[in-house]
């Protein structure tokens, strides 16, 4: 929808101007909007703005459902070993070339789970969240800004907020571990995790 309509066009009783205004509205709804919506759909962008004369049209995609928050092994990948920071030895490390480089899934802990990043971008935790805060599965823990669109980071389980693995404002990749959520930890412990 246009968030700006030329005011004089509204006020003027002049038939020509009114006709021109109607024509502009027809063009907007008949051609421009469908084309913009199609373009927004194709590109996957969060927001699109077009200016033409006194008109300005801005489309914003509704925030999508939170994604990428499945439970992960606590030992899966530590913050220090994030691949976006790593500079592999050359030639590539041998484990890259093994058929099953993942460690066997024995370290899966039932007492903790880690909220992961739903997108590649800049991470900001929720301001009012501290270690020890009680959260429920699906609660918003923060957001990752991907090109101006906030993608929600949510708690994977009911529990208590533990260690942050990433600093606020830090760049994160898709699937990166962000915050530990401890399950069944008494309120008295500080829940700093391992």
């Amino acid at each position: 929808m246009p968030d700006q309509v030329p005011a004089d066009a509204r006020r003027s009783p002049d038939d020509d101007e009114r006709a021109a205004d109607h024509a502009a509205i027809d063009r907007l709804t008949g051609e421009l909007l469908p084309a913009l919506i199609a373009k927004l759909g194709r590109t996957g962008l969060g927001e699109l703005e077009v200016r033409e004369g006194a008109w300005r049209v801005r489309l914003r995609r509704p925030a999508g459902p939170p994604v990428g928050t499945r439970e992960r092994r606590a030992s899966d990948r530590g913050g220090a070993e994030r691949s976006m920071d790593r500079v592999p030895e050359r030639p590539p490390r041998a484990q890259h070339l093994h058929p099953h480089p993942e460690p066997p899934a024995t370290a899966r802990s039932d007492s903790r789970s880690v909220a992961t990043s739903p997108a590649v971008g800049i991470y900001q935790p929720r301001k009012d969240l501290t270690i020890g805060s009680r959260v429920r599965a699906g609660d918003r823990l923060g957001a990752v800004d991907m090109l101006g669109v906030a993608q929600e980071v949510v708690a994977p389980i009911d529990g208590v907020v533990g260690t942050s693995l990433v600093e606020p404002g830090e760049a994160v990749e898709y699937g990166q571990e962000l915050i530990v959520v401890e399950f069944g930890v008494p309120m008295s412990t500080n829940g700093t995790g391992s």
Binding site: K39, R42, T43, G44, L45, G46, V67, G68, S83, M84, D85, R86, V87, P88, R90, P91, P92, R93, H96, L97, H98, P99, H100, P101, A119, V120, G121, I122, M146, L147, V149, A171, V172, E173, Y174, G175, Q176
Partner: protein, 456 residues
């Protein structure tokens, strides 16, 4: 030159771009989906960043994810490879809006060449022959007969609103044309609500020949010869070679010179390919332009010694070509075999799984561009290309002989590949005599083709 390039692709082309970046002294960041975490380009990259789940719509095809990844890793350019976002003018535009360079034609150039019909008209106006057809829509039967006579039989009757072969008929005589017009009109009316028809010349035994071109920002362009991509299955190229067998030097010179003149005049920029159909007598007709690096680019690199991916990077960085047409020398003959994870014995069913053993062939004139390694798991989410084997020889016979040896030497255990079809091709008389046409594999049928080759 760029300091740091984000590679927004996977597989062999991600590896190819990474190598070009290295050779030019640029750092390479590989953007990957979760399915490609253990891939060779990720392992070899200076940095790697996961941009999304295996679903390409949310990773390799997601413009926001790719651009966000480039921004947070501090890249100053993005190379899209082929497929995915490589010819998306909207993506190219947003990359530039975020202060980075899109390695490929600028967005306005991609837009100019986005429509096939529009591009045919544009390049037709700059001297490229297009497939002859009727002047506008057919008014009535008399008009249809007159136009068919002018174009020359056989002709293809096509509905204006079209697709899927509905209302389309190939006719060889005026009598046939008279009898099908009514049927075509009613079919078109029923299928599209529009019964207007037009005619196009029918080319039945044609070759697919494409011209590689490169144009810098300053309007200086060169062609890098042509490639024959006639060996296809259902419009998918399987094998490419250069120079085109049975194409005379005079026709080759005319084709390549006209192609480069037309794209320069039409304002193209960066590396690109113009596709043509060539009929038995050597008439060529422009079909479409590909505004990207192509899978089969190593064929041209083998003949000319030019690094086409490096050339893309240089042009995008604003450097002049620095070479003129006379500097491009063509030597010998090259053939590329696309090695796909598909089973020729079962209708080319695509496959996935773990590569239990991989061995790449070698020797003089043998190049293997592949992201495979022993233990690599081929994910099921993407195209089936496992790699490309390119052989070069001073002449076609030597290239074919080296191809036979290399295909024999290549080991990819654990995955069914289409190597058999290549070996069948190299045993077929039609191929050895250089008489391949685009319809050969589909007409004879791949299974019959394999069986015939096995008997030789």
């Amino acid at each position: 030159m760029f300091k740091k390039v984000l590679i927004a692709n996977r597989g062999e082309i991600a590896l190819r771009v990474l190598r070009a970046c290295r050779a030019l002294g640029a750092e390479a960041v590989v953007a990957y989906s979760e399915a490609d975490r253990e891939s060779l380009p990720v392992g070899l990259a200076d940095e790697a960043i996961c941009i999304g789940p295996p679903d390409a719509q949310r990773s390799y095809l997601s413009a926001p994810a790719v651009i966000s990844a480039a921004l947070v890793t501090g890249c100053d350019a993005i190379h899209p490879g082929y497929g995915f976002l490589s010819e998306d003018e909207g993506f190219a535009e947003v990359v530039v809006a975020h202060g980075m360079t899109f390695i490929g034609p600028p967005a306005n150039v991609l837009e100019r060449f986005a429509s096939k019909a529009g591009t045919r008209q544009l390049l037709g106006a700059h001297g490229l022959p297009t497939i002859p057809g009727s002047e506008g829509m057919l008014r009535d039967d008399m008009h249809a007969l007159a136009e068919a006579e002018r174009i020359g039989y056989p002709v293809l009757v096509k509905p204006s609103a079209g697709g899927g072969g509905k209302g389309m008929r190939m006719v060889r005589t005026s009598r046939e044309l008279e009898s099908v017009l009514k049927v075509c009109r009613s079919e078109a009316k029923a299928a599209f609500g529009d019964d207007s028809l037009y005619l196009e010349k029918w080319l039945d035994e044609n070759r697919h020949v494409e011209v590689q071109i490169a144009v810098d920002r300053y309007g200086h362009g060169v062609h890098l010869g042509e490639r024959d991509c006639s060996v296809q299955r259902r419009h998918q190229k399987i094998l490419e070679e250069a120079p085109t067998p049975t194409l005379s030097d005079a026709v080759r010179a005319d084709l390549t010179e006209r192609a480069i003149r037309a794209v320069v005049a039409a304002g193209y920029e960066n590396v690109g390919t113009l596709e043509f159909l060539v009929d038995r007598t050597g008439n060529f007709y422009f079909i479409e332009i590909n505004c990207r690096i192509q899978v089969e680019h190593p064929v041209t690199e083998s003949l000319t010694g030019v690094d086409l991916v490096a050339m893309q990077l240089r042009i995008a960085a604003g450097e002049p070509l620095g070479i003129s047409q006379a500097d491009i020398r063509f030597s010998g003959h090259a053939i590329e075999f696309r090695i796909n994870a598909e089973d020729p014995a079962h209708d080319f069913r695509p496959g996935a799984g773990i590569v239990e053993r991989y061995h790449a062939p070698g020797g003089p004139g043998v190049r293997m561009d592949s992201h495979l390694f022993t233990g690599y798991e081929v994910p099921p989410y993407y195209d089936s290309l496992l790699g490309k084997l390119i052989v070069w020889g001073p002449d076609r016979e030597t290239a074919i002989a080296r191809g036979r040896v290399a295909l024999e030497e290549l080991v990819i255990d654990g995955i069914t590949t289409n190597v058999d079809i290549h070996q069948a091709l190299l045993a077929s008389e039609t191929f050895l005599e250089g008489r391949m046409t685009t319809n050969l594999l589909d007409r004879v049928g791949s299974a019959a083709f394999l069986a015939a080759a096995a008997r030789v």
